[in-house]
């Protein structure tokens, strides 16, 4: 049977059904347990980062090479015709996709990946378009949650930090809503979850709690999803005040459930102290490593009728 993602674009988590999510997670699990070096053999993938992102790019390139594929591309737009000569994104996409079997694109403009997908004759995978979508991050988050909890249904998850601008948070909330999650939202008031997301959760009948402190949610949750509060969004005094409230230290974890795991999309600055790394709850580095398997799964599925 042809897999339903064959030759499809992966642009937005909002287009994913449970069937698609579970197919990717199952494939990622298989590739993690039984590595394959043949699924992209003879395939050339364009990895085009019009906006730099070292971890995501290396993760995609690792996934492609581990699967036996080859890569062309660039790490940022500075030395491309688009950056230097003013070529349109549309023209760049038309040319690159005439060379390659698939395209991975990251761009600082929202909607750039959709434009690429509309123009491309080969599958396009969105590696982040501005504040909009980053579906491979959501997939690796879901893969990690499933890996640590053995389920996606009814997960109790706390989002901590910047819930206003974090596309990772918004997309993961959307995906977990398909599985009846319960959310605990912990953030400075100025970085609270946007109302339109809360309205969407209400419409889906998803329970959420807006909580002032980190300590009160830790005993309740299966997953503590930390994000970076960007210093530049606050003045120094305000930032120092927030630091104490939203920084995770080992002493705050005393009442955590045994199964609780801490995730973070990284880079971590100082919102999780390095002492937390030694606790059994820390899982963020394994989460980052899982990014390769989630991306291997997505690439394999869009480029192979059957796996």
């Amino acid at each position: 049977m042809i897999n339903p993602l064959f030759q499809k674009d992966i642009i937005s988590i909002s287009e994913f059904s449970k069937e698609h999510i579970e197919l990717i997670l199952k494939t990622a699990r298989e590739l993690k347990d039984h590595p394959r070096d043949d699924l992209l053999k003879g395939r050339l993938v364009g990895v085009t980062f019009f906006e730099g992102s070292t971890r995501t790019r290396l993760s995609f390139e690792t996934a492609i090479q581990r699967l036996g594929g080859r890569v062309i591309g660039f790490p940022d737009a500075a030395n491309t015709s688009l950056g230097k000569k003013g070529e349109t994104l549309a023209d760049s996409i038309r040319i690159i996709t005439s060379y390659t079997d698939a395209l991975v694109i990251r761009h600082h403009r929202e909607g750039a990946a959709r434009l690429a997908a509309d123009l491309s004759p080969v599958p396009v995978i969105n590696a982040g378009d501005g504040a909009n979508q980053h579906p491979s991050q959501t997939m690796l988050d879901l893969f990690t949650i499933y890996e640590t909890q053995g389920r996606l249904d009814g997960i109790k998850l706390a989002f901590v930090g910047d819930l206003k601008y974090g596309r990772t948070v918004h997309s993961l909330a959307e995906a977990l809503s398909l599985y009846g999650a319960e959310f605990y939202l912990v953030s400075p008031e100025s970085l609270a979850m946007p109302q339109y997301i809360l309205d969407d959760l209400d419409a889906r009948g998803i329970r959420y709690h807006i909580c002032p402190t980190l300590e009160e949610v830790i005993p309740e949750v299966d997953i503590l999803y930390m994000t970076r509060v960007q210093k530049e969004r606050f003045d120094e005094t305000e930032y120092q005040n927030l630091r104490s409230k939203f920084i995770l230290t080992p002493d705050k974890l005393l009442e955590a459930k045994d199964n609780m795991k801490i995730l973070h999309p990284l880079p971590r600055i100082d919102e999780i102290t390095t002492e937390v790394d030694e606790t059994p709850y820390a899982y963020y580095f394994k989460q980052a490593a899982n990014g390769v398997y989630a991306r291997e799964a997505m690439l394999s599925l869009v480029l192979n009728k059957e796996i």
């Binding site: 937005s12 909002s14 349109t88 994104l89 549309a90 761009h107 600082h108 403009r109 929202e110 909607g111 750039a112 959709r114 434009l115 123009l119 378009d129 501005g130 504040a131 909009n132 979508q133 339109y196």
Partner: protein, 167 residues
């Protein structure tokens, strides 16, 4: 049949509120305040066509309404789609020789292409000339919501119209 409906004819009690036109289009039952936006959107004020506009007229089944009569203009299907975003539920009467030859009620289209700019300043449509702004239209709880095909932001119709200088 007259160019305005019977209720309006009754309201006017034989007093003609607006002049009849020989050929063209009458857009009736426009929500009050929207006629000016329709004039702007279709640039009717920069044409030489005979134009009659009524604001806040009394109407039988609406508390009040706007109305536009424009000579020698008919609407293409695309224009009808645009019009229906500004004036959902309005009635369009096509006039030939003072007679109504076609009459239909507007319905919200499912999509609009190239009619409005995206209010999200970081949307790709603002920098790529090939990316024509497209919005999917849904009605949720009585509100018209418009979702950008590219950046996926969802806007209330009012916000989109305001951003585009149409409200």
């Amino acid at each position: 049949m007259s160019q305005t409906d019977n209720q309006d004819a009754n309201l006017s009690k034989g007093k003609l509120l607006v002049e009849a036109i020989a050929n063209g289009t009458v857009i009736d039952h426009i929500a009050p305040g929207q006629a000016i936006n329709i004039l702007r959107m279709f640039k009717f004020l920069s044409t030489n066509n005979q134009l009659t506009v009524g604001f806040n007229l009394r109407s039988g089944h609406m508390k009040s309404k706007d109305i536009i009569k424009i000579s020698d203009v008919t609407f293409s299907p695309t224009q009808t789609g645009q019009l229906s975003i500004l004036a959902p539920n309005a009635t369009v009467n096509e006039i030939e020789n003072y007679k109504v030859v076609d009459k239909y009620k507007l319905r919200l289209p499912k999509e609009t292409v190239g009619d409005f700019s995206c209010p999200n300043s970081n949307c790709i449509t603002h920098v790529e000339r090939g990316a024509t702004p497209r919005f999917r239209i849904d009605e949720e709880k009585g509100q018209v919501m418009m979702r950008c095909h590219y950046c996926e932001r969802v806007f209330e119709r009012k916000v989109l119209l305001q951003y585009n200088g149409l409200e």
